[in-house]
């Protein structure tokens, strides 16, 4: 095993189902591979870490009408739901979740409305300091 764990930093800008799936699939897998994973939820992404946000995430635009069908298909093939994937990221103990403080102010989201899995509320500087040393940086 490498002395220093591989680090992955993801800016989660989108709050739709199709974008949140890859975020949580990569995060749960990275955590399971003993990678040091950091997720920064900003703009529409912040909705995902609001209480009930993952449960109510929909497909984007007019496709949102097909959300129920998509979720049904996801379930029928045995792929976990977003809340289940979040739970898996916690199990790995390698995934840190950040909420963007500016987005919280812009969208009137007090700390109490966030899910308890949010580890820290930070700004861009904190996230850049983390991403600077990351081997993988993604914007989703």
């Amino acid at each position: 095993m490498a002395e220093k764990p591989t680090k992955m930093a993801i800016i989660v800008h989108s709050g739709t189902l199709d974008k949140l799936y890859p975020v949580f699939m990569l995060a749960s897998t990275g955590g399971s591979m003993d990678m040091d994973v950091h997720l920064f939820f900003t703009f529409w992404g912040l909705n995902a870490v609001k209480k009930g946000g993952l449960e109510s995430a929909k497909l984007p635009g007019v496709m949102s009408l097909g959300t129920g069908m998509m979720k049904g298909k996801i379930k029928s093939v045995g792929v976990p739901s977003l809340p289940e994937l979040l739970e898996m990221t916690r199990m790995t103990e390698n995934v840190t979740i950040y909420a963007c403080s500016t987005t919280m102010a812009m969208m009137d989201v007090p700390k109490e409305q966030l899910i308890p899995e949010v580890d820290e509320i930070v700004g861009a500087a904190s996230f850049l300091a983390i991403a600077m040393g990351a081997d993988i940086q993604l914007f989703i």
């Binding site: 897998t29 399971s32 591979m33 003993d34 093939v77 045995g78």
Partner: protein, 78 residues
Amino acid sequence: MSEVEIDLELDCRGLFCPMPIVQLKKATKNMKPGQVLRLVATDPGSKRDVPAWAEKTGNMILGSSEEGREFTYIIRVS
């Protein structure tokens, strides 16, 4: 491959990415170094995913086989 004593069986048949990898992490968290796990999966992605996981986490694949749609991996936990 059959001579190795298996400490834990992990059945991931019917599960897709990322589940087999997440289940591997969950299972190996509670195993002791040197213990051996047998994973059976049907996800064709596991053929590359499981070796990638093992290399990254420092666990060793002692053997693997493919029979029909099932993939079996014997892994020694480090």
